[in-house]
Amino acid sequence: MPEMSLQQSLNLALRHACEDDDRVLIFGEDVGRLGGVFRVTDGLQDKFGEHRVFDTPLAESGIMGMAVGLAMAGWRPVPEIQFDGFSYPAIDQIVNQVARMHYRSRGALPMPITLRLPSFGGIRAPEHHGESLESLFAHVPGLKVVAPSAPDEGYHLLRQAIVDPDPVIFMEPKARYWHRGTVDPAEHADRPPVGTSRVVRPGRHATLVAWGAMVARCLRVAELAAEDGVELEVLDLRWLKPIDAEGLAASVARTRRAVVVHEAPLTAGLGAEISALVTERCFGELRAPVQRVTGYDVPYPSGALEDEYLPSVDRILTAVQTTLEYRRG
């Protein structure tokens, strides 16, 4: 099985998607000639031509509006917005148009759009280049939202997103672009359906719930905790909409404790939804309230303060300790 980085596995997935379906179109700022600022679309214009892989003007709303029109004309658009924070100018198109055209047209106009969005922080980037918009997107009816945590996940989830008949926001964890892992494209036939989470590491004392780059961090926490005899289950949520409520509940029903970890600010972050869902389904089993370890309620800071902002191994460990030691007040 070939080993490759997430950035490469995404590139491979795009390549295979274009080969499989000649209605797939890739476009965005600098995705064509340059191959994307993260090189995720590298070589695709050469291979598939300028009509299938092309650069757009610098206008995010226009990019998403173009995707809507292309989908109406029977194409399968895979636009990129260069960075998380620059999807805000396109939010009107995403929420008011992409997410609703199928509903508005009573199913006549499906929107099989996959928006690739380099997302989350951790790379000491400038302002607006480290945002986590999952709770915004997950709140919008009509959208699906997914974030891979590793190269093989990236490959399979991106292909799944592209063939999916609904619009999918595909959030790529920038901090993991250069991490390598094995990828087996042949496994694709056996993928679990959209909306399935995965247990990355089984354990019985508490469940850590995460997605994107925080999955690796939680695995690290689980390793450290294991040294002290604490067995943490790490659940990679993968799909942030639809959320795998059953998978979550099954894990927490076993472990009776949960910590959810994300980069976005605390208030109204997706951790709140996870906390509410888990509590609704496992109230009787829970031995402690679900702990949230998240970014603070502050703007994503400049690189020098990034490590202070992001959930650290220490902060997660502290939350694990809190939940393990919790005694009903």
Binding site: G62, V68, L70, A73, M101, A108, D166, P242
Partner: protein
């Protein structure tokens, strides 16, 4: 319509006018909750939509395009269902209608026309996208992004601005800097034309020329049809708060339907009135018997297949609805 047919244009405009009047009447009678009258804009709407080739072109409208719907042969009952609060997008099939679903975001569909035209270009269908938008909409950033992109990619888009003088209470003079939407075109290196929006034949010819140009690979262009919203912005609006009666009277003199009729023989007009009256009867009947959509529809079109969460929510809804 392959060539301008004054009689047919008038017939269509008259249908639009009478249906519009009927919709206003139904609103006053409490049968329609709210309505956005298109009175005064029949020539702009019918003249342009009639120029489309429905086998391959596609129109993108907003919420005040009854005349375009009529000219495209969309069932007015299905179109007006949006105003009846039955379904946001209307009940027509946009693919067959060649008209995008009813859309309430001012300026929101203009970039869709660009994407659609790119799709048509890639498929070599020869299809052209006609994008309707208002003078108010012209202020939106999306319109700029759309024109720039269409011009760069030489796409088959006709940007058709219905400048009806007002965006709710704001007149063109305080909306469109420089005073002309058509004049914006030059900044993108594409043609822009102003046309008398109350002259259906002129609108038809201008649109046909722009469509042909686009079909021949000549790229996008802008048409600004100068017309007037003779009625209120919507049935809950009171234009007396912001515009002068004299202005309304002056434009009433230029009524596009009357103008189209003036070229016709009395019996042609009478025939058109009969036809329109018959259509109004049919539509009125259709509207009054149109049933609300069942509650299940809430959940049915959110995704191609409802998610597990939606199945569960539908189940809960049924329980309460049944209770």
């Amino acid at each position: 319509m392959h060539s301008a047919d004054a009689r047919e244009l008038h017939r269509l405009m008259l249908v639009a006018r009478r249906l519009d009047e009927e919709a206003v009447a139904l609103q006053r009678q409490g049968r329609i909750p709210a309505y956005a009258p298109s009175r005064g804009q029949e020539a702009a709407q019918v003249g342009s939509a009639a120029a489309l080739d429905p086998t391959r072109d596609f129109a993108f409208g907003h919420y005040r395009d009854l005349g375009a719907a009529v000219a495209l042969g969309v069932d007015p009952v299905a179109y007006l269902a949006a105003h009846l609060n039955i379904w946001h997008g209307g009940l027509y099939d946009p693919r067959q209608a060649r008209l995008a679903p009813f859309n309430a975001v001012v300026g929101g569909t203009v970039t869709h026309a660009v994407g659609w035209a790119m799709g048509a270009k890639l498929d070599h269908t020869g299809g052209v996208a006609l994008s309707y938008f208002g003078d108010g909409a012209s202020s939106q950033g999306d319109v700029h992004e759309a024109m720039n992109t269409a011009a760069l990619h030489e796409l088959g888009v006709v940007f058709f601005c219905q400048n009806n003088g007002w965006a709710i209470s704001v007149p063109t003079a305080r909306q469109v800097a420089g005073g002309s939407v058509a004049a914006r075109a030059a900044g993108y290196g594409i043609p822009g034309h102003e046309v008398d929006g109350n002259d259906a034949l002129a609108v038809f010819e201008a649109t046909r020329a722009a469509l042909n140009r686009a079909r021949d690979g000549g790229g996008p262009s802008v048409i600004e049809a100068r017309t007037y919203r003779m009625g209120p912005h919507s049935t809950s609006d009171d234009p007396g708060r912001y515009r002068a009666l004299e202005e309304e009277r002056a434009w009433a003199e230029k009524d596009p339907v009357a103008r189209a009729a003036s070229a016709l023989a009395a019996e042609e007009i009478a025939e058109a009135e009969d036809h329109a009256a018959e259509e109004v009867r049919r539509v009125r009947e259709g509207l009054l018997t149109l049933a609300d959509r069942p509650g299940e529809d809430l959940f049915s079109f959110v995704y191609r297949e409802p998610t597990r969460a939606l199945h569960e929510q539908r189940r809960q809804w049924k329980e309460t609805a049944g209770a």
